[in-house]
Subunit: 254 residues, 2 copies
Amino acid sequence: MISVVIVGTGNVAQNLFQAFYKVPDIEIKQVLGRNEIHLAFAKEKVSINTDFSRIPTADIYILAVSDDSIGEVAEKFKDLDGLVVHTSGATSIEVLHKCNRAGIFYPLQTFTKGKIISFETIPICIETKNKKDLELLQNLGKTLSDTVIEINSEQRKILHVSAVFVNNFTNYLYTIGADICKESNIDFKLLQPLIKETAAKLDDLTPYESQTGPAKRGDQKTVHKHLQLIKSTHQRELYTLLSNAIKEKHGKEL
Amino acid sequence: MISVVIVGTGNVAQNLFQAFYKVPDIEIKQVLGRNEIHLAFAKEKVSINTDFSRIPTADIYILAVSDDSIGEVAEKFKDLDGLVVHTSGATSIEVLHKCNRAGIFYPLQTFTKGKIISFETIPICIETKNKKDLELLQNLGKTLSDTVIEINSEQRKILHVSAVFVNNFTNYLYTIGADICKESNIDFKLLQPLIKETAAKLDDLTPYESQTGPAKRGDQKTVHKHLQLIKSTHQRELYTLLSNAIKEKHGKEL
């Protein structure tokens, strides 16, 4: 049995709460947050608390709070005996330097408001300040996921940059696709199977191998036709930049 | 029973062949291509032919050839009675103007060498020059897919531009993610669940609603940290352009 206190009320905190709540080997001692209303998701299931001066004893304290407030929140946990971990991809373990025992518990996934996801296939990237805490954090991770992996702070930051490209920026390209469709009264949902296959292809192929399209083929005629169809200057700029990059990548390396 | 002749030996031709071959109501009369070696995928299953002066009678001729050669190939079909369709997203129906009966059969999907996919969920966008041919093409589409939709040439071109953004350009962002990981000896496969969830989210949310990340939050500190970590000038340029676009989109409209 591992006892945990979850700190925070955002998407990560809520998803971790729902996931740990189902695990018999995990005891959620409390969910801590500043705002009682935002703690509603845990109320009636476990103890909730807004008073950071009265933190119960637990094996692990999970700070699932915004990157900017981790340092400030961690202050409240510096005298405790338990392991204090944060869940941020972009933040060094150093931000927890005042805590006796510190670590990272970073689930590599996108968490969206109102959507509870399954952790089973999500890689959980862990790191601990003291080597002897690694096993505890590994055991915590294994209660949720098949992939628990030790990644140091430098590698985690790189992974986070990479995640911004494949998740945040990719989603922005979906937004452009949706905007283009909307202008011409086309149902964007028609593109959903294509979007899913684009992601699924990576099960078998590298993204380099998966590349298709006019830019990859050096089909300047289609590129030109597309640029004439795109009304927004910003979208044309992006189309040109990305097409040239694909051409260069595949021209040079083929 | 609908009889078809498939023309071409590329990824689209091969995928259409494999799919139609399984449909009892479809008779593949022949697969036509210039190069006998490239016709190997159909050999021993149906008649193959490299002689474009000896085309058998069929209800529908499907020209699954490269965009640039549709016009030239269509010449060979101009005196036939059957319906001649091409499968290109970016090419107008006008390229078939010499044919007695012309149409479009555009499966909205990415076809990759060596990968045979299921057509069931793929939208098939159809168009015919003569209204009376529409039903025939609808019936052909329905043998493969649950979504057969009439789309005119102008809308189809727009859909194709949109597909370039959500498929080709998205895949290029995956390539950047993979390159960044490789430089730091991180297994890119760790990002696969995130990539899939990014695509799957669109089942429930619009891409605008799905947007997350430092740029969306206006988290300049993380954006700055990321730019310091990215070594390639091109990647930094793209990171800045896309982050600013996300910030602007969500700042202005929120």
